[in-house]
Amino acid sequence: MSSAVLRIALFGNPNCGKTSLFNALTGHRQRVGNYAGVTVERRSGTVRLGQRTVEVIDLPGSYGLTNQSPEALIAQRELREGEIDALVFVVDATLLRQSLVHFSAMADLALPMVLCLNMADQAQASGQELDLGQLERELGVPVIETVGHRRLGVEQLKNALLRATAPRSVGQDIAAILARALRTPAQRSVFAASQRIDRIVAHRIYGWPIFLLLMYGIFWLAFAVGEIPMGWIEAGIARLSATIAAHWSVATLPQLRSLILDGVIAGVGGVLVFVPNIVLLFLALALLEDSGYLARASYLLDAVMQRFGLPGKGFIPLVTGFGCSVPGIMATRLLEDERDRKLTMFVLPLMSCGARLPIWMLLVPAFFPRQWQATALFGIYSLGIALALLLPRLLRRTLLKGPPSELLMVLPPYRRPTLRQLSHKVSERAWLYLKKAGTVILAISIVMWFISSFPAQLPQRPAQESSIAQSGRQHQLARDRLANSFAGKLGRSIEPLFAPAGYDWRIVTALIGAFAAKEVFVSQMSIVYAIDGADEDNRPLREKLRARYGLPTALSLIVFLLIATPCMATLAMTRREAGSWRWALFQFFGLTALGYVLAVLTFQLSRIVLGG
C-alpha cells in the first residue's frame, strides 16, 4: 500500500503527546484552522514520505471515539468520511493498559494503522520493557516507539507508515496481548515524583497560596512586563505616523493621507499593541499547561467555579480578562469542554479590562465625592464579576442546555516543558491572532475611521495633527468634524433610543467610537467637548461632564460601558475561537441588550432614588 497513502491521521488520548509528535513530523509545514461552528481546532500539515508528499491531520485528542464530545464526533467523522488512508494511533507508553482499551474500536475502522508508543523514554526510565515484535505480531500492525517532544522516532514512524496494515481484530483480548508482550512491567511509577510534589502543591493549606502566587505571576508577566514592549510598539507607530505626516503635505490627497495616518496606521497599531500581552500570557499558560500544573488548579477551583456553572479552569481566562478580553478569550482554549469554552468566552468582556480603566478614571472622579471614589471603582469591578459568574447558569438553563460536563480529569505527571514546545505554542498563538483576528480588527478600524471622518469637508488644517497644536480653533474643528460625520449623525439619529438611559447624542457618538477600543470613549468625549489632553489630567472634561450630566446618567453610563458592546477586537477574537460569526454576534448583541436594559433601569431607578 506504500504508494497509496495520501492522507494520514493522528489520533490519541489527550495528554499523550500527540501534538508534539505531529509537530516533530510536519515541522513548520502546518495549518491551523477551526472546525466550522465549534471551538475545536483543525490542524493539518505535510510530510515527505518516500517519494511523495502526504497530508497529516492531527485529530483532536479524545478518550476514544465513542463518547459524545465534539472532539470525538469530529475525529469519528474525519476517520469515516475524511478519506483517511492510514491512521497513527498514538498512545502514552507509560499508560499502555489505559490507552489500549480503545484499540479494538480503532481496529474496527479497518484502516491501515501504525501503533505509536509515545513518551517511550519515560516508559523506559520506569523500567518497563516491551517485546515490540511480539506486540506487532499479535496486533497485526507496525508498533514503534517515539519521544515526540524530543523528535525521536520520527524516521521510524515514517518507515512504519510505509508498511502500515489494517489491524487484526483483537476483541477484548487486548489486556492479555499486552501482558504477553510485557517483558518487564514498570518498576517505578512515573507518578512517583509527582506524588511528592502534589503533597505540597495540593496541600490543604499551601495549595491556595501557591496557586494565587502563580496567577499573580502570570498577570504580572502578561500585563506589567508586557507594558514595556507595548510602549515600544506604540512609540514605533507614533514615529512612523509622524514621519509620514512630516513628508506628506496636507495639501496633497488629504483624504488618502488621513486614511493612511488615521485609518491604516492607527489600525495596524491597534492590532500590534496586543501582541506582547498575547505572547507573554501564552508563554505563561503554556508553562502551566505543559508542566502539568493546570490540572492541579482544577482540583482547587472546581467546587467554587461549579457553583457558577463554570469549570474550575474557567477561572484563569476570567482573571486574564481583567487585563484584556482578547488574550482572555484565547485562554478559554485551556478548557476541555466545548460548551464551557463558549460560556466562558461569552462572559469574558464583563471582566473590567485595562482599557476601561481610563474611562472609570474619567467618570468616577467627575461624579463621585472623593470619599466614595474607591467604593465606586470597587463596585464597578464587582458588578462585572457578579454578572460574569451569574450569567453562565442562566445560559445553561436556556441556550446551552444539557448536562454539565463531567470532570473526570486525569492528572498527568509533572513534566519539564521543552523550549521547542513552548516557542511553538507561543508563536502559533501570536500568528493566529495576527492572521485571523488582526485582519478583522484592521478592517473594522478602517470602517470606524471612515464613519468618524466622513462626510466632512476636511478642514484646511487636519484636525488631529498633533497635540502640540493646541489652539482652541483646532479642537472646535475636530468637534465639528466628528459631529458632522456618519458617526455623529448616527449618534444623533439613535439619540432617542438612549434617552431612557439618560444619554445625549454626544455620549452616543462617543459610545460608537468606543467600539474600536474601549478607551477611545475618553478621547471621543474630549473631541465632542472640544477639549485637549484627554490622556493625562482630564479635569476640564470632568468639569464639563459634571456640569451637563447628573449622577443618574453617570451611573447608567458606567453600567453600559461595563456590560454592553464588547470592543471590535473582542468580537474578532470570539469569532476566531468559536469558529463562527454566530456566537460572536450573539455575544455582542446579547451583552449590548443586557447592558442597555440595565443602564435604563439604573438611570430610571437612580433618578427616583436621588430625586433627579
Partner: protein
C-alpha cells in the same frame, strides 16, 4: 481475590465513603452513565485498585488513584462507583 463470588461477602461501598489514604477495589462502574463511559474510556475498570488520595477544601473534587493513574472526580461522579475494601478490616 477480585472474583465476583467474593464480592458478595464483602462490604460494598461507594467511592465517596472512602477516607483519605484508604484503598479499595472497584466492583461496579455504572456503564450506562456518562461518568461510567468516561471512566472506561480512561482505562478504569472493575477489579482495579483505587486509593482516595485527598479531598479538595470544599468537599469536591476527590483525588483518586486508579491503579497508577491519578484522576479527579466530582463528589456526585464518584458516588455512583462501587467498590469493596481490599482488606475487610478497613471497613471498621
Amino acid at each position: 481475590m477480585g472474583l465476583p463470588i467474593n464480592i458478595q461477602s464483602k462490604t460494598v461501598i461507594s467511592l465517596t465513603e472512602l477516607k483519605p489514604g484508604q484503598a479499595a477495589r472497584i466492583c461496579h462502574i455504572p456503564s450506562d452513565t456518562p461518568v461510567g463511559v468516561g471512566l472506561y474510556d480512561r482505562g478504569v475498570a472493575e477489579g482495579q485498585r483505587v486509593v482516595l488520595e485527598r479531598i479538595a477544601p470544599f468537599g469536591s473534587p476527590l483525588w483518586f488513584r486508579f491503579d497508577e493513574l491519578p484522576m479527579l472526580l466530582r463528589r456526585d461522579e464518584a458516588a455512583a462507583v462501587r467498590a469493596h475494601y481490599d482488606d475487610e478490616r478497613e471497613a471498621k
